[in-house]
């Protein structure tokens, strides 16, 4: 059973298994374990980013493609759901239709970019996707009569997912089962399903070909695999998954805007999460996303304390200012590219042999 679910790809390290189990249990019971809106928000964000980062790892870690257009697909998913619900009202039909349309648009776009530029070298592809993503961001903010421009769009979700809805009259283990909790479990279920699907993909023969391409594309081509075909399919798969992550984000936030889905800052976050967690191991996406988002929320508080504690010493309080938390993560990023190219997961697996 477990073997089928994980597609035979076990964490292969005791510590890693422990950490992953803790994360999964924490996420599964988040509404009951933690109190307060901030904690459940963090948990939902972790779920969304696990999917997004795993889909990016399919590209970067498994196929060796560096794309900077991943937030574009995340945005397409967000806007697909958001604009649909905004324009046609909050119903499940509209939600499904929005996701479906966004999937079609995202995959077709990924296919076109792939055909245009996957024949070229990694560096070329990175630059082209960066340009395309920035153009998309500009278009999304410029056509403000449709997209809401910089402000984005707030919208309602189907009634069952609204905070006012009560599923049961009595609280369960001290937690009221309202629409927010249901929305969280919708997001959580989507995350689990998509993550297991991604595991299925990378452990299939198809996934093995992707890894062969990452290691040596010339040799893969010589073995008879059409490299461009495999790269394009990987691109489309990753894009589709990112679209779904965007849809999850829109359902949870009940808002879609350029800053939450399209901005380059999010692209950087994804990159940091993949590399720190461990490229080419989907479990790295889980660890990277969790670590990063928890750090984002709690490291800043820690730094604020450190910053006030070191007041009077020159420069140090400024370095420890809570807004500078990216500095620490950036340094961690550079160091991990040097010393732990396989990230936390690779490190843990290496130790256990």
């Amino acid at each position: 059973m477990l073997n089928t679910l994980l597609s035979g790809d076990y964490p292969r390290s005791r510590i890693l298994t422990g950490i992953l189990a803790a994360i999964v249990l924490g996420l599964a019971f988040a509404p009951f374990l933690f109190s307060g809106a901030a904690a459940i928000n963090t948990a939902a964000k972790v779920c969304i980013f696990i999917v997004l980062v795993a889909s990016y790892d399919l590209l970067l870690g498994y196929t060796g493609i560096v794309s900077f257009a991943h937030t574009m697909f995340f945005g397409i998913g967000g806007y697909g759901v958001g604009l649909g619900l905004y324009a046609f009202g909050a119903s499940w039909g509209v939600l499904a239709l929005g996701i479906l349309l966004a999937l079609v648009v995202g995959v077709v776009l990924a296919f076109l970019i792939g055909l245009l530029s996957l024949r070229v070298r990694a560096i070329f592809y990175a630059m082209i996707t960066l340009a395309v993503a920035s153009a998309f961001l500009i278009l999304a903010t410029q056509f403000s009569e449709y997209t809401g421009g910089e402000d984005g769009r707030s919208f309602s979700v189907p009634q069952v997912l609204r905070p006012g809805y009560r599923l049961l009259d009595q609280p369960v283990f001290g937690t009221v089962i309202n629409g927010r909790v249901l929305a969280y479990y919708l997001v959580f279920a989507m995350a689990v399903t998509l993550f297991l699907l991604a595991l299925r993909v990378v452990n299939s023969p198809f996934g093995r070909v992707l890894q062969a391409i990452r290691e040596n594309d010339m040799r893969a081509e010589a073995l008879g695999y059409r490299v461009v075909y495999y790269r394009t399919v990987a691109n489309c798969l990753a894009a589709g998954m990112a679209v779904l992550a965007g849809a999850m984000s829109a359902i949870w936030l009940r808002y879609t805007g350029p800053d939450t889905t399209l901005s380059f800052a999010i692209m950087l976050d994804i990159l940091l999460m993949v590399v720190i967690g461990g490229m080419g191991t989907l479990y790295g996406a889980v660890i990277g996303a969790t670590l990063f988002i928890v750090a984002q929320n709690y490291l800043q508080k820690l730094m604020a304390t450190a910053s006030t504690a070191t007041e009077g010493i020159p420069l140090l309080p400024k370095l420890l200012h809570p807004d500078r938390w990216l500095l620490l993560l950036g340094l961690l990023f550079v160091l991990s590219v040097y010393f732990f190219p396989t990230g936390i997961v690779g490190r843990l697996r290496g130790k256990s042999g």
């Binding site: 560096i123 990175a126 400024k318 370095l319 590219v337 190219p341």
Partner: protein, 340 residues
């Protein structure tokens, strides 16, 4: 087989270099095409001059990047950091020289600006040396790692700018004598744009001269073609590479100062905004080609300025269309660098 080779005449020895003039006509064609759409000749001249000025700035920034790529096969995603650092250093120097900046004399203004630019270029050049040593050197030949690690360098550099200069937006005022416009006939041309065009042409000319007429330029071009061979001939190509990296960083610093003065505001994210344009330019020009980079920069700037006037909503996205069109025509860019 046995026949003695015929004595080669002088004309046989070196085949004529074939000049490819077609791309040079592109900017001319584009500006001519824009004229009927814009309609008003005065507006058209203003737009074209603005485009030239913008193009020169992008060229100054992009030239170093494309040269480093051509030579060392390193694409530095951290190049944007040098743009921002250069601009911030100039901001500090100009603040120190506020007496010269506010003086109502072109000479004092230019001296202040010249000093600021010099300090900025030396600063970014040194930073480039450090960046090459710490960030880039361990990952030569590994493209994936290069992209990731220079990206990481960019994040760290941007955060350090926040630490040193503070996070808020700064005003970057032009010196008094460079504000305003010169009126020629009916056309008003901003003074700063004239200065920018002049700087761009000087940089381009200097680069072409150094690359084509000096011993160092010969070695650099030879190094692009075949580094092992140049090394085998006894030249320390590594040192040459590092020098080029420093010069490229200094040029990015210079471009950053110009760009910040042009926009008159400065944030740590300034590099990121330009880098998208810069990448488009070096893709269009052909990665590693200085001449292609020059034409690409002008093309991109023209496209941006004309469409900003005609169809403001699609101005920046229009560059993507330009890029796609040019890559359809020449998949390696306008002037493909032979080896790659």
């Amino acid at each position: 087989m046995t026949a003695a080779p015929a004595p080669a005449s002088a004309s046989d020895a070196l085949p004529d270099i074939r000049h490819d003039y077609l791309p040079i006509l592109l900017p001319v064609a584009l500006s001519a095409l824009a004229l009927p759409f814009v309609g008003n000749p005065t507006t058209w001249v203003t737009l074209t001059v603005a485009a030239l000025a913008m193009g020169m700035m992008i060229f100054v920034i992009a030239s170093g990047l494309t040269l480093v790529f051509g030579l060392m096969d390193v694409l530095n995603f951290g190049h944007g950091a040098f743009i921002a650092v250069g601009a911030y250093i100039a901001l500090s120097v100009l603040a120190l020289l506020s007496g010269w900046v506010q003086a109502d004399s072109l000479l004092w203004n230019l001296m202040a600006l010249g000093l600021a630019v010099t300090v900025a270029m030396v600063g970014t050049g040194l930073l480039g040396l450090a960046f090459e040593r710490v960030i880039v050197r361990p990952v030569y030949g590994q493209h994936l790692k290069q992209i990731l690690i220079t990206m990481g360098g960019l994040i760290v550099a941007e955060q350090l700018i926040h630490v040193i200069w503070g996070g808020d937006q700064k005003a970057m005022a032009l010196p008094a004598a460079l504000r305003g416009a010169v009126v020629i006939g009916e056309v008003a041309i901003e003074r700063f744009r004239i200065l920018t065009v002049a700087v761009g042409i000087v940089v381009f000319a200097a680069m072409i001269l150094v690359l084509n007429r000096t011993r160092i330029g010969l070695l650099i071009r030879a190094g692009v073609e075949n580094p092992e061979m140049v090394e085998a001939l006894g030249y320390r190509i590594r040192r040459l590479f590092v020098g080029v990296f420093a010069v490229g960083s200094a040029l990015a610093g210079l471009g950053g100062v110009l760009w910040a003065l042009y926009r008159e505001t400065l944030t740590a994210a300034i590099g990121g905004d330009v880098m998208v344009l810069v990448f488009i330019v070096i893709i269009i020009g052909g990665l590693g080609s200085v001449g292609g980079c020059f034409i690409g920069a002008i093309l991109v700037a023209m496209m941006a300025n004309y469409t900003a006037f005609l169809l403001p909503k699609v101005a920046l996205a229009s560059n993507i269309l330009l890029m796609v069109a040019i890559l359809m025509w020449r998949p390696q860019g306008l002037y493909p660098v032979a080896k790659r």
